[in-house]
């Protein structure tokens, strides 16, 4: 069911590829702060950047405002060489394709010479992707993110690791999925109302049970680890 991609958790893969304890890490597109909280639990000196202030205010509610910055990835408000690691987690494809090269160049600038950039992106396939497709078909934007990462290799970056895996996303039911998609992007609200019944049908078709009996949707992932060249 997962093709030839191993079943992994995002957190396991991240922890393997980036030393976190004591490292200064920038979460690019941190949203409401889920990854930021996890990075802090792993004792990273983590900071989150996002252009959407309402989401950041939610993040600040749990991690504190001293770790949150409203800003754009293509115009980072940090001095050169400030971070040991930077992570685009499910966020690079949310940028317009035209600014992706600038965003990658900015990540390069704020990293130390021996720093690392992790780009974690969902692949446009699998149950989760299929169920959210009526709301927003991300096929095109995800392909654009992929192209931008490819183009960056050799232009200031060296692609050190590329890996694909499948993660299982617990989703108790279609209503939970709908509220999650709305929270990630408030602009989706109207669309979500129109396609509710299609989401319900697709959810019933694609849902699986994991080893612990939870209802899950499959999401194949791709991770690229880039190092300054």
């Amino acid at each position: 069911m997962t093709g030839d991609r191993p079943l992994r958790r995002n957190s396991e893969v991240l922890a393997e590829l980036v030393p976190l304890e004591g490292a200064r890490v920038l979460d690019l597109g941190c949203g409401a702060g889920d990854l930021l909280r996890w990075l802090l639990r792993r004792k990273a000196d983590a900071f989150g950047l996002d252009p959407q202030l309402p989401l950041l205010l939610r993040a600040a509610g749990t991690v504190g405002p001293e770790r949150c910055i409203a800003g754009r990835a293509e115009a980072l408000p940090f001095a050169d060489g400030s971070f040991d690691a930077a992570i685009f987690f499910n966020s690079l494809h949310h940028l317009p394709e035209t600014v992706m090269p600038a965003a990658l160049a900015e990540a390069r600038r704020v990293l130390r010479r021996d720093g690392r950039l992790l780009v974690v992106e969902p692949i446009a396939a699998g149950g989760y992707f299929e169920v959210m497709r009526p709301v927003e078909d991300e096929t095109v934007v995800r392909a654009a993110a992929r192209r931008a990462v490819r183009a960056a290799a050799g232009r200031g970056w060296r692609l050190e690791v590329e890996r694909e895996y499948t993660t299982l996303v617990p989703v108790a039911g279609p209503a939970e999925l709908i509220s999650r998609l709305a929270a990630a992007d408030p602009g989706r609200e109207a669309r979500l109302g129109e396609v509710r019944s299609r989401i319900e049908r697709l959810y019933a078709r694609h849902r699986l049970r994991d080893a612990r009996g939870r209802t899950v949707l499959e999401q194949p992932m791709r991770v690229d680890l880039l190092r300054p060249d």
Binding site: L53, I69, A70
Partner: protein, 81 residues
């Protein structure tokens, strides 16, 4: 815009990390207005609930008389210490 003085101030450690997103130049912290001022860009970035809003669209354009001439800036920094 009101200057309440009740807004939480920015964390000093966070302030150390930040530069102007446009010029990558230094920022000075205006405590009274609770803004981060980029004299080079002529912009003041607001701080909302302790979160610096480093978005050019959200920044306030400085009036001409607000910009501090570069030769006076170092002196002022000294005074702040």
């Amino acid at each position: 815009m009101t200057e309440t003085g009740n807004e939480p101030p920015i964390d000093p450690r966070l302030l150390e990390l930040l530069v102007c997103p446009l010029t990558k130049g230094p920022l000075r912290y205006d405590r009274l207005r609770n803004e981060l001022v980029s004299d080079q860009a002529g912009l003041a970035y607001p701080i909302r609930d302790g979160i610096p809003v480093m978005l050019v669209d959200e920044a306030r354009r400085l009036r001409e008389d607000e910009a501090i001439p570069p030769e006076l800036r170092a002196e002022r920094d000294e005074d702040d210490r």
